[in-house]
Symmetry: C2
Subunit: 201 residues, 2 copies
């Protein structure tokens, strides 16, 4: 189990923020390609083309940058979904756009799954909190739609985990393995099952 | 990447099979608790209470026993589902029993997910082949039901991955995290969404 302290300060300059982001981008590739245990800080600084000293300005350890990377990817993903679904009120449309944005995010961040699968072995709480944070917004959204009578009434938590599982597996199979474009037809086919499952008869 | 040879022979005696199984059971605990990279062959032989020589009678390496463990768990899981759903022809009933048996298997093999998540880093083909093997039977079953007109027509592959994702996430949340008993009410609630999604209106 690793230390949970966050001793390092956030960069105060634009340049500092850029350097820190460069390190996080490099870590995404290095951890994704080599895996957490095989990867070293040297691999990351070489990939980012910064010095070892610069690394330690922003991060305490390999665990530290891994944790920050996982948290920042999660944050960016939720932000992308939030921005992309702004103004949509219809639940089925929200699901459609949510799936599309997630798949597009995955296309750009092909190591996302590999990173999250490793998280369980680096920090079990980090791993679980990812799912719990993501599900929280989902659950309250589904609950709202149920209360308004827009969709059938189910256990909203159960439904949220069903949808997250679908998102995960469909993304793995078609985005990562088949490397398919996320077409409207593909999303329509997926949403059709969901619509029948939750839509009012 | 590890060697893919299978030089070791299968045990020829009942006692040999028992010893080999003891090593696999020990490996399930050791890899599950420590993770593949932290675990050693010594950990496994100590857990199994057998000698190092005995280990090498049945396995070539840590990678070898890991691979055999993952494959045997997968085989046992599919066998449990096959036996438990024998004689059931109705698709919704098949889904209900399939989910129940999977959750019960997971209750008995709490490291299942941790082992499969590690598989990606030990042998990427092993990881992918697990999903592809599991989906193959699922797809053909769904296709049959669609052709018979028992359920709505979807892309059967897409549907199979949706169901596998649901199985995975619901198992993770309620069996592993919440450590809930898999009650009929719980399964009913889950199957209700699936039934509405695939059942004929």
């Amino acid at each position: 189990m690793m230390k949970k302290s966050y001793a390092k300060l956030e960069p105060r300059t634009q340049r500092g923020m850029k350097t820190k982001q460069k390190l996080l981008d490099a870590a995404e590739i290095v951890f994704g390609e080599k895996g957490f245990h095989q990867a070293s800080i040297v691999d990351i600084t070489q990939q980012a083309k910064v010095s070892m000293g610069t690394f330690y300005t922003y991060f305490e350890s390999k665990e530290d940058i891994f944790r920050e990377l996982v948290m920042s990817m999660q944050k960016n993903m939720r932000k992308a979904i939030k921005i992309g679904t702004q103004g949509i009120t219809d639940r089925i449309e929200l699901e459609r756009e949510g799936f599309r944005i997630f798949f597009q995010f995955l296309q750009k961040h092909r190591y996302l799954y590999r990173l999250f699968r490793q998280a369980e072995f680096v920090d079990v709480e980090l791993h679980r909190s990812y799912f719990e944070t993501f599900s929280r917004g989902y659950i309250s959204g589904l609950q709202d739609s149920m209360e308004k009578g827009e969709i059938r009434a189910y256990n909203p938590e159960l439904l949220a985990y069903c949808f997250m599982g679908i998102m995960d597996y469909v993304g793995m199979k078609w985005v990562l393995w088949e490397q398919q474009e996320v077409t409207d037809e593909f999303i329509d086919e997926l949403v059709c099952f969901i619509k029948n499952g939750i839509g009012k008869p």
